[in-house]
Amino acid sequence: MKRILFKAGTMLTALMTAPVFAETSDHIEQYQLNMTKGVTDISAGVYDMHMLMFIICVVIGAGVFIAMFISMYFHRKSRGAKPANFHESVKVEIAWTVIPFVILVFMAVPAMNLLIDMEDASEPDVSILVTGSQWKWHYKYMDNDVEYYSKMATQAEQISGKLPKGENYLLEVDRPLIIPTGQKVRFLITSDDVIHSWWVPDFGFKQDANPGFINDAWTKVNEPGIYRGQCAELCGKDHGFMPIVVIAKEPAEYDKWIAEQQAIQQKAKAEEQRLLAMNMTMDEAMDLGGKVYNANCAACHMPNGEGLPGVFPSLKGSQIATTDQPKHIDILVNGVTGTAMQAYAKQLTMSEIAAVVTYERNAWGNDTGDLVQAKDINSAMNGQ
């Protein structure tokens, strides 16, 4: 038994004296032992509360274990110890009921004050709607006309081991969330399908994304930097592949960025209208469709179109993907209620939907020869 105490002791000491790293999470520490201090006043408060709890627990644990080991050493039969006769003492028992209670009060008061600060999301400078869906995040800036999806950028080949793993393996996204430093950013968090949880350790909180309900949380980041996190609530097959990357920029840079994005997104909408009049060739549609398919559909329906039997239906040779074209388009645009199939109308452009429908109707031996155009999608969306 002494061995285990010694081991626990050295590990606890290591934990307490572990170098605390205050850099951004971009500097990955191989043997990080302790919670991050984070980059906000709240996360520093959380860290301090954690250390307070930790030290109190270590002291209590050490007291109990020392008493145990003293009696295990001195009061053993092989040393000739004779058993004492006492088996109750009201005074002692009252003491070790009341003293722990008093210690609890000392923990509860700072915890309560910190919690009340954390839960006060009022008077934000920036509000962002965060929507989780299997398995990506959608960010919508409530005060600007900017919204986009953010998906994991790590290649499948790195996961399968065909390529070496990069520095930010599984913690990199195609489009990070951008927020201003020094301003109170409020997150309105919800979900389109199952429960997800939005968590960036450096901000000191995680908040569940519940379908049909909106939770709020807030942060005020002091230092510019890149902060990484992950979905923290089991959300299905690719729960482990749903990272979050937040870049905090100086307010001036942030304002510039948001104005640019607004212009780009407005232009893209105009462009989409213009494209309605244009037709893709079969090669163009298959090329674009393949890319869109692999980025959005392959996670469930698999790159070979065969799906996962009993979970995600096969598209290869399916009745809808080979004959019923209006139904096929309807599923892409509106999703299928009561299943994991999402509505892609708000996720993809009309030409992307057209291309992916074309791809699914012609790949893997589904050789229908059908070529779908953006205007077909437009008319389907307008209920024609």
């Binding site: 145990m68 609890l104 309560m112 996961i159 009993g310």
Partner: protein
Amino acid sequence: MTAATDTTHTNDHHDDEHHEHHIPPGIKRWLYTTNHKDIGTLYLWFAFIMFLTGGAMAMVIRAELFQPGLQIIEPNFFNQMTTVHGLIMVFGAVMPAFTGLANWLIPMMIGAPDMALPRMNNWSFWILPFAFLILLSSLFMEGGGPAFGWTFYAPLSTTYSSDGTALFVFAVHIMGASSIMGAINVIVTIFNMRAPGMTWMKMPLFVWTWLITAFLLIAVMPVLAGAVTMVLTDKFFGTSFFDAAGGGDPVMFQHIFWFFGHPEVYIMILPAFGIISAIVPTFARKRLFGYASMVYATASIALLSFIVWAHHMFTTGMPVAAELFFMFATMLISVPTGVKIFNWVATMWRGSMTFEVPMLFAIAFIVLFTIGGLSGLMLAIVPVDFQYHDTYFVVAHFHYVLVTGAIFSIMAAVYYWLPKWTGKMFHIGLAKWHFWCSLVSVNVLFFPMHFVGLAGMPRRIPDYALQFADFNKWISIGGFAFGLSQFIFLALLIKACKKQGEPVSSQVWEGAEGLEWEIPSPAPYHSFETPPVIK
């Protein structure tokens, strides 16, 4: 160990031989048995087989997590492994093992000839293998088994699950029915069949803790049955209990589940408190310190367990007032739990201690359960729980209380009472190997989980970022070693069942006290047919 002093029970021996003639041979003995000792043995072997099955799934999980990347299994199968591992360990290993111990020990401890409802006892055991056959068979069906975590949060378990969910629901229903019947049997036995003079405050603590556990089971297993039924109708019959689009609420699922789930946690630990309270005084050769306060502490833990459930849900977006209430209530539980630990230490204090194998497990229990309990206190603090929640810190916490807590206590109990059951001392060398290998490996397995959790690794992920790689390798190595160590236990149990070893006296352990030590070893097939007299 003192020599056997068999004075009053020669009659039992006689009855024993008389009744042996009526035991049907072979498999029929076990199928038809209504004997509490046979049923106890069945429960214990079933629990051990399930422990190895659930353990094999943990080995698959640890093999996949040995290094970053996806090497062995697909994420969907990984989720099935974590889910079924949890379900099997909770409902297949820990709970049946405690029920097996209750069957063996409660009648012998209170001086009763058998459980009060022997036929129901047979039934409550024999439906269990079918429940687990149904659950395990779903793994081989199209779409696979349950992949939504043992907590089966909606809507992942409803709209977004495979059709195998129906099998999961029926399996849980059967397990629940079995547990409720077992609990009724325990309560009826304890209320009606105590020997004359066995007053409430003379009952051994194992009997007390099981009585309270049985009430918890009857209170919450129907809640679980309700939750799985709502999942079933939401998925297959178009109801919307947990679907906001139909006026339901997915968070309501979590409230219902954890209203079952938190008392369930105490169902899995209260009998352990009873076991440790039996073993520590025996090997300290000193009466248990604060018997009455142990009883009251157990009862208050049980009562508090009904008002703390939402501490599993601090990140779901509850109002601040609710978060504060559940934080305070949860912190309060540490007071009676602390009383128990202090009482055990006080029992050891100025005792005359020896360290036989059951005592080794009991001491490991006290140390490691305390570590798990203290990390539980940290988890109760809402603002820091926002960081801990759903990380490996939580995984470390509940494995410390369930593996080095509940399962170590079950092992301690088996080593403590096995000589009474078989009449032979178990192989002490193997037992010590089992203890030391398990103790070292279980800490290599679970201790570093605190670190990766604090460093930010979420639970239930099949692949992880590179900074977690080194610790995960150690965790996996510890996991494999802990798994292998259990084969030492298996070898020892097979030897014991073959009745190999030195014969033991009726008292077995020098300091042991209680009615079960007054009947001969091995305990005769029928004991206490005439109630003993309790002074």
